[in-house]
């Protein structure tokens, strides 16, 4: 009886296993991070340092040493209340992300000046100044369905007035533990198109997606979306094929 109890309880905490494995597959094998450079910054709505989606793990798997991977609420504490409809603006993202680097010193006891280590990557970025940060990226990873893990990456534009992204540079990748992809993802209300053949890695299926206007067949068609959109419009959905 106790054996059965222990067997069941130990199996219960494997719920995050798929997310962990999908993150490894995504960051080790995907092409979506090719343009990301050292000291860039990621801003992510589902980022959590307590789990695997953090700057440290990203560096290990991709070799790209981000200045940091922030949770959106760290940069915009009132993000949930700041709605597009209410004309609320998410301003000065570059300034805010750089300023917040100084909060990344570890621990809860402030260090004295002579205790701060010069080899610390955070201190290096702070001392290098705000211009060292080349690109700030909107990035996210989360479960679209229990068996499909989705990720997007898109650069923010240099805009002090509101946080907007270059939607036409969007990159999306899904990782699924199913033998075939179950749904086509949609972002900001636009159905995405599969880009190339699915790749299989450690039993997971990885698929890259792109916006429809990049499709040669539709190259001359009217743009069905703005090339620049508000960051808050980056909401995922599912397309019925």
């Amino acid at each position: 009886m106790i054996f059965n109890h222990n067997w069941i309880v130990s199996g219960e905490n494997s719920a995050r296993g798929f997310q962990y494995e999908a993150w490894q597959t995504l960051t080790k094998n995907s092409n979506m991070f090719g343009e990301v450079e050292d000291s860039d910054i990621f801003v992510s709505q589902n980022q959590n340092d307590a789990f695997e989606n953090n700057a440290g793990s990203f560096y290990r798997n991709t070799g790209v040493r981000l200045a940091y991977m922030y949770n959106t609420k760290t940069i915009f504490p009132d993000f949930s209340e700041c709605l597009i409809e209410s004309n609320c603006k998410l301003t000065e993202i570059r300034k805010k992300t750089f300023k917040t680097l100084s909060n990344l010193t570890r621990g809860f006891v402030p260090l004295k000046v002579d205790e701060v280590e010069s080899s610390d990557w955070v201190n290096f970025n702070i001392s290098s100044g705000v211009d060292k940060i080349k690109t700030i990226w909107a990035f996210d990873v989360f479960l679209l369905t229990p068996g499909t893990y989705v990720s997007y990456l898109v650069p923010f534009i240099e805009n002090e007035v509101n946080s907007e992204v270059k939607f036409n540079e969007l990159k999306v990748t899904t990782v699924t533990n199913l033998s075939t992809n179950e749904y086509s993802p949609a972002l900001a209300g636009i159905c995405l198109i599969q880009n190339g053949e699915p790749e299989s890695h450690s039993g997971l299926l990885m698929i890259e997606w792109r916006l429809p206007r990049l499709d040669s067949a539709q190259a001359n068609s009217r743009l069905q979306f703005d090339p620049v959109i508000d960051y808050r419009k980056l909401q995922f959905g599912i397309c019925s094929d």
Partner: protein, 434 residues
């Protein structure tokens, strides 16, 4: 001519085997297998609790300092130890050192789970060995080994078996080693030898407290081991009269190193670090109220078999049924061999022998030893106001592993008494008949 180590080991094992007998040896092996099987379910688990962020340690070190090497791992461990010392007045550097190195070197899940399994397995075996040293009873130890597989239950909230960097098994191993040394200190004939054993016990005990402060409350176990060691010291017993016995215990310089490590830790943590701490909050605030008694009471039972069961735990799969059938077979063979041995012994040895005062004292000491383990975790929680409204029979904290070990000893004491009483009754009945 020098005899090779393996040959010496072979001789030693066969000597011990002859001493112990087939029945008892089989029971030990059988219940060790069951113990290993029961905790091998650890392998089914994923990163859990604090292990999630802690498992990211090597990546953070690489990201922050550019390289993962021993020096960076060490400075990371020392950084956090320093933060908790200055911030919350806590001192547990061994936990930081162990966890930072473990997660840095065992990055694959299976490697870390093997580490968890190994530590818990060793903690269980060492506990049985310690109980043997104190009691010299194979029967008691075999029942403890069997009971461990019943009392050690994985928890759905704060679980020390599957998570938290194997801090609790690590603490228990150090405590058990220090108990063995404390026992040797008491048993050793030469006073210099006794002090050296005591010094070693003090060092290990200090490292145990520096793994998790909780070890502080387990001091009585070391004292009991020392006293039992003295009881088993033939020379000392011959020299000391009954009256001077307790006086000897009080002034024995042998015990000083252990005592000093205990007091030294208390002064350092409670007298120096905590008053100076900048941010003692949440679970680290210490207080006492009437609710504390309720918390202690609720935790006493947390090691009882099936206490953390839920309805879902009755869902058996084919695999678990198969494993259970095998374990049942192993348990049956083990128990049959054990009882045959007991029966044999009861014919050759006098189980009814008049118990000396010393034996009775020993029994009381072992009961206190078990109660220390059962009560200490609840006491710790009872002085933390955050637990006053939360603690429940089924809701416990990391110390529950210590209660589980203590409960297995307590169950073994009761079962052993019942078995002996029953065997005596059967023997007398058989003798009367013949």
């Amino acid at each position: 001519m020098k005899i090779p180590l393996y040959k010496r080991l072979k001789v030693l094992i066969s000597k011990k085997y002859n001493e112990v007998g087939l029945g008892i040896s089989t029971a030990y092996v059988g219940f060790t297998i069951i113990w290993a099987f029961n905790i091998s379910t650890i392998y089914r688990s994923y990163w859990a609790g604090d292990d999630w962020p802690n498992s990211q340690t090597p990546y953070w070190i690489e990201w922050r300092f550019g390289e993962l090497n021993n020096s960076n791992i060490w400075s990371e461990a020392m950084f956090w130890n320093d933060q908790w010392m200055r911030g919350a007045g806590r001192f547990y550097p061994f936990s930081w050192i162990e966890s930072r190195f473990i997660f840095s070197y065992f990055q694959e899940l299976w490697q870390y789970k093997t580490y968890q399994f190994t530590l818990l397995f060793i903690a269980g075996i060492l506990f049985v060995y310690v109980c043997y040293l104190l009691s010299k009873s194979h029967l008691l130890c075999i029942i403890i080994l069997a009971s461990l597989s019943l009392t050690v239950q994985f928890r759905r909230d704060f679980d020390p078996h599957l998570a938290f960097s194997a801090m609790l098994p690590s603490l228990l191993i150090k405590i058990m080693i220090s108990i063995i040394f404390a026992f040797r200190s008491g048993k050793c004939n030469g006073s210099m030898g006794g002090i050296i054993w005591s010094l070693l016990a003090g060092v290990f005990y200090f490292s145990a407290m520096s793994t998790y402060e909780f070890g502080f409350l387990l001091f009585p176990m070391l004292f009991i081991a020392f006293v039992v060691g003295i009881q088993q010291n033939a020379k000392l017993n011959a020299d000391l009269s009954k009256k001077s016995y307790s006086k000897y215990l009080l002034i024995s310089t042998r015990f000083y190193p252990i005592f000093l490590s205990w007091i030294g830790y208390a002064i350092f943590v409670f007298g120096y670090l905590r008053p100076k701490a900048l941010e003692v909050s949440g679970a680290y605030v210490i207080d006492f109220s009437l609710s504390s008694f309720r918390v202690i009471f609720s935790q006493i039972f947390s090691g009882i078999p099936l206490i953390s069961f839920r309805r879902i735990d009755f869902n058996f799969s084919f695999t678990t049924i198969l494993v259970l059938a095998i374990l049942l077979l192993v348990a049956t063979i083990s128990l049959r061999n054990l009882f045959n041995e007991i029966q044999k012994k009861s014919n050759t040895e006098n189980l009814i022998s008049n118990k000396s005062q010393k034996n009775k004292t020993l029994e009381v000491l072992i009961i206190v030893f078990a109660l220390n383990m059962i009560f200490a975790p609840g006491f710790m929680m009872s002085i933390q106001p955050v637990w006053w409204e939360q603690a429940h029979f089924t809701k416990s904290y990391l110390g529950v592993m210590i209660t589980e070990f203590g409960t297995s000893l307590f169950i073994a004491i009761i079962l052993r008494a019942l078995i002996i009483r029953n065997t005596i009754r059967v023997t007398i009945h058989a003798k009367k008949k013949s």
